[in-house]
Symmetry: C2
Subunit: 152 residues, 2 copies
């Protein structure tokens, strides 16, 4: 009986270690992946240009996307801050439909999406989707999604 418990504990501990190992290996792998190639981590924010928002309004909406993604995914963004220098790209899109199509694709790829809807106190209608953040994730992964869009 005592022996059985002992074996169970050893098994438990070894499983724990191998899990940690796996985790570290994965982490080192992605660390070298960033260091050795152009495959950096970035955060892409796609802004709707068809709404006619002013500069300050656009900046505020992009700001919402940036603070929300950090608040909602504190563990996920650590790598972006530590190795990626919190790199950002702000791109433009001409319609809500196009943006929704990209959001659907992102969700299929498993990329984090941060949809920003405006309270509508100034300039635009309440609950309008103004922009959407994608990632932070590897550039190669994000470029498949938003590579065709131009910088704002």
């Amino acid at each position: 009986m005592h022996l059985r418990i002992y074996i169970d504990r050893v098994d438990y501990i070894s499983r724990l270690f191998s899990f940690m190992d796996l985790f570290n290996l994965y982490d080192s792998f992605s660390f070298f992946r960033i260091l050795n190639s152009s495959d950096d981590i970035k955060y892409v924010i796609v802004v709707r240009k068809d709404l006619g928002m002013g500069v300050g309004k656009i900046a505020g909406q992009v700001g919402h996307a940036c603070s929300s993604v950090v608040w909602q995914n504190p563990d996920h963004v650590a790598k972006w801050f530590n190795y990626g220098g919190q790199k950002k790209a702000v791109l433009k899109i001409q319609s809500e439909k196009e943006l929704i199509d990209i959001i659907k694709k992102a969700q299929a790829y498993g990329i984090i999406t941060t949809v920003i809807r405006d309270a509508g106190k100034t300039q635009i209608e309440p609950n309008t989707m103004t922009c959407c953040g994608f990632g932070p994730d590897y550039s190669t992964k994000l470029d498949k999604l938003t590579g065709h869009l131009k910088l704002l």
Copy 2:
């Protein structure tokens, strides 16, 4: 001897409770302060207009200020997200000197400042201060600092 230890413990526990009470009271107070008056919590980002940055560049810099403040002060921003709806104001300023003056005042008032310097890969010189975030903090406190500035 035993009695002494017992009294010490009671004293310790009661002190702990009164500290927690104080903390909760303070929290409830600021919660009601937000609910009952116009004294909400906001985050103000002041952008330098004299650098001639484009819309996308400005949005990116404001985004840096927004993600940095959440990453660097996770406990402090909680109230802003929970009660303040992460309210933001993007304001403009015409020179670096004016911005530095406001930063000095903010530090004297005990307001968190998030200075953003650009890596200078696009549009402007490396290490230029592009914008600065103040707060998140009470509107009345921030307005003393930036109330004279106009919306971007």
